[in-house]
Symmetry: D2
Subunit: 341 residues, 4 copies
């Protein structure tokens, strides 16, 4: 019975519904009279205010994606419609996301493994290193193949101007999504990105290269040149300031899903001594814009240089469609982050 | 009743079916006991032998795409599963394809407008010039939006190792298809391409640039570097030899759909004096390999140079996955081409 | 006797001799018995300890080249063997240098106009803006044509391992010198450069581009990849910290040649409000290394990117042939600078 | 008296004079009163009509440079003012040229080793392979160092609008000459080049790359973009048609200097079976323009692509400063070539 449908089933059906009519994509329309829909209806008003979010992530490399996902799952104002994974071993990454969802009791959220390889450039992130922790946690092992872009596409078309796409991995999925269906950029509410470094710094040291942008320069360029109404970028120069030392991490990551994240993080087995909250910073600004100070302008991406591919050019412009973070209120961020758990 | 389903409905449903089960894509499976399926079954043996073809085309610019489509529609051995359009004004191109399908009484074949803009490079083919002829012919005006790549993807997954993808326009759709679902290349029976110039000639004159490859060099590179089992390329250096002068064109294009093609061609209003059969040559070699002499090797694509982007590098290699045409039996081609009408 | 030749006469004659039988070159052969030459002979032993310097400059654009030249002329430890000019209107730049030499009573120093255009890239500095001040000051108007590189070459070969080449303009002359005679780099004592930005800053603001390197990226790359024993770079990130405000400039530039420099500077006609001592900082470290803190390493140059051409890549390496300034003792610099006047 | 100086002595002295007081350069000042010089004086009027030629060559790799030099030495209408060598081991190449001059009794002609390494790209021709034949023939071993460009520069300035610069190796020397003294291009009578392939053919096979242009794409670009009044290019597509088989070579290379060339060629020790007369074809058209059919136009050079660097773009243009050979009268060429011996 549909009432027991997990969210993944629900969305998947919605996707199918979208194609049923051939041309249009009214979607969701057929399932209005189900009990699940009724339930949805009851809490409708409140839920309507939640931010509809698609989360595109390279979870499984650095730990911050897991920290970000944990936040999204616990953020009451977040309606997480689905997760797509990107870069090397996207299925393993999907498994890792699935493990976290199960820990959180939220495995209704659909997960789609996305694209492994960058466009036209060598693979820089072939492995999902955290796979070593997988065996300890129940997780899904089967996922739809090659459907991530289509899932994003249909979800966005089903909720025009309502979806926030949060991308915290290399931007291959996002670029392909925008290329495959060029109306998608303008159907997004906003795109929020952890990527770039707009003052060429990492923890105040010179740094031209931010990993996500660097891993797939062509995709990064395609993404930033798309006609999204509002692109919010939180770059490495800002995220690198939200750091937590090992002891504090152990102290704070002591409940529920955060315990699992702590386990994944490598803090406990001493493979790392601190955590930089890159991705969660990007996520939190969706819900509290005051955490960062933003400037409006234009972002362009270097693609010609082999060594500098993915470098972010920034130009202030009050009519630009980009908002870029230039400062972070570190205290406000951490307070906000842990407040949702 | 499903028995009356037009092919487009059928395929569209199939697409939906593919997502129904969430993970796998068995497709088509549910509709076995329908009358259409029974009918399909009756003629099954014979039909099974036909080549299942997806046709990706920039129909609406040069006339050869229409000449190619006309051939595919009349070629008994061809099971045309769908048409996708590419480059500027893809919907207008879809309308033009639709007009031809209606003339041929074959508007059961699904048509999906694909991607208008090349990847990261300027648009070189913004218009579908033949739109001026559209008003004279009935045609569809509404098509699915942004679904071309997904249509190709699902059709190929529904018929693993059975589909020949014929691409005679810029390769944006094909590149995105391969990028979005990286298993697709290996699920194709073959890819047949009108593109490139492997001896750097056009009608024996020096020519470094072939239009389809030139229009989207990055896409061309992504396409040729994908692990397709068999890529058959018929380049400009070969196609430019299959030319028909105005008088002969008028004489031969005198039946059924060819009359419409003649109208579209600009021959009658004197905007052109001859027709080069680029795209149809690529189509015919699917059915008669002896029309061209092929060599096996490796193809790579120039992407660094602004002026030479899309140039095709050729290296003979008996283990290569590419077969490239180096000669054409012009007489055999024309005889074969007109034999299907 | 050679002992009485002024230096410019001497060198010019030497070079000119090469084409005596040809078109001939305008010579300055007439002024042999000057006191300055006699003086040079008398104090020979002491002079031997002086740093032999060739100064390659784009004097005539920003004022700092004039401030640098004034310093070199007044620095007792400096044996200025010649001046070469570079970028647009090199002859006008030579005139400006000549005007300053005459003010300083040092027009024995040879001046050679060098190369106007950058290698393979567009001219970014076509004009010597300070030409408007020329009419007020006596100056030479005829200079050897096309001989700058050969002058540098012969001067360096004449004093192997003794010459410091100081380059504070775009590096076209230097690159050509090194290319024309590939032994020259290893015959230099050192190369001192105002160029690059190694922490990507200008006055603490993000800045990827330093003008001298940017104006001729290929030349910059050729220069930095040459086997010079010791390349000392003082980049924009450091020089931009040695700034003097208008009032202080007026106060300090009140004697001799500095008055002329003040006039050239645009301070008095209010076209500028402060002066950044880029080039003089590079010059002073030849004589007092403690003015800057240097690190040893490797410098490489971006040439592929149209937008980032000339960007300086820095990597610390204790065996590198480069020393790059990372900090400046501003007070020590200014004290040193004005101490020579 | 200057009239009795051998040409090499004259020029070398002229240049050397410039550094007399420095390290000094090895001179060839001793051989003044030779008969060849006297003879030169006697026939002055007639000689004035001869073509003044500077020959820039990578002699020592393929044999055609030697075949070309032999021609120039025997061509009565040729006044060979000097030889400069280029690419890897330029001094060895100078020795090889010297050996031929001595065989011809013409070691009055000055030889200057030029630049070994291409500009900014990897060395593709590091060795002068024919050095193995050197020990059998007397030759000079000391040459001026780093003076080739200056020698070319001064020679051209000494004979404005009279010099034909013939370049049959990679174009590093020529590019540097034009960069160092930007008036030089306009002071040449003409530049004759063996280089490029303007129809992308080698012996009727597809070929995008011609060796000389390929070895130093940046230099090639600098050369072709200089304001030379008349650039005559004889490309690989044309030169590859003037081939002589081993037996014929042995038959024809049977007198004087050609015997030595035959020895150098590798024909006798079976390392090659035929000779293509690339460089001599370029030389002969200076004296008989009817040997090739030329078209007037514009030549530009690819520099962005790693794989296609040096590719020659050709566009017909009646106002262009380039004349490019498109056909050769093979019989006329060979008849002309051997007629001078």
């Amino acid at each position: 019975m549909i009432i027991f449908m997990k969210r993944r089933d629900f969305i998947t059906k919605s996707i199918s519904a979208g194609v049923l009519a051939g041309v249009g994509l009214p979607l969701l329309a057929q399932q209005e009279n189900t009990k699940s829909s009724k339930h949805a209806n009851v809490v409708n008003n409140e839920l309507d205010k939640r931010e509809k979010i698609l989360y595109d992530t390279d979870i499984g490399s650095d730990i911050d994606d897991s920290i970000c996902l944990s936040y999204l799952l616990n953020q009451k104002q977040c309606d997480l419609l689905g997760i797509t994974t990107v870069t090397g071993e996207p299925v393993v990454r999907a498994m890792l996301a699935s493990a976290l969802l199960k820990v959180a009791g939220r495995d209704d959220i659909p997960i789609y493994p996305g694209v492994a390889a960058p466009l036209l450039t060598p693979q820089m992130q072939p492995k999902a290193d955290q796979s070593k922790y997988l065996s300890k946690y129940p997780h899904e092992t089967k996922f739809p193949e090659g459907e991530a872009i289509e899932f994003m596409r249909q979800t966005i078309r089903a909720h025009p101007n309502e979806i926030t796409l949060l991308a915290t991995g290399p931007f291959t999925n996002v670029a392909l999504l925008f290329a495959v269906d060029p109306e998608i950029p303008s159907l997004l509410k906003r795109l929020v990105v952890m990527g770039g470094t707009f003052t060429y710094r990492y923890k105040d040291e010179p740094c031209l290269s931010e990993w996500n942008a660097r891993c797939d320069p062509y995709a990064t360029s395609m993404m930033y040149s798309a006609p999204v109404k509002n692109i919010i970028s939180v770059g490495l120069d800002v995220t690198s300031h939200v750091v937590m030392k090992k002891d504090e991490v152990i102290e704070h990551f002591n409940t529920g899903i955060l315990k699992t994240v702590l386990d994944f993080s490598g803090i406990l087995d001493n493979t790392r001594q601190e955590i930089v909250f890159h991705d969660p910073l990007a996520a939190t600004v969706i819900f509290d814009r005051e955490i960062c100070r933003f400037e409006r302008g234009i972002v362009e991406i270097e693609t010609e240089s082999k060594r500098l591919g993915g470098l972010t050019f920034w130009k202030a412009d009050e009519n630009g469609n980009n908002e870029v973070a230039f400062e972070v209120d570190k205290e406000r961020f951490f307070k906000h982050y842990f407040s949702v758990f």
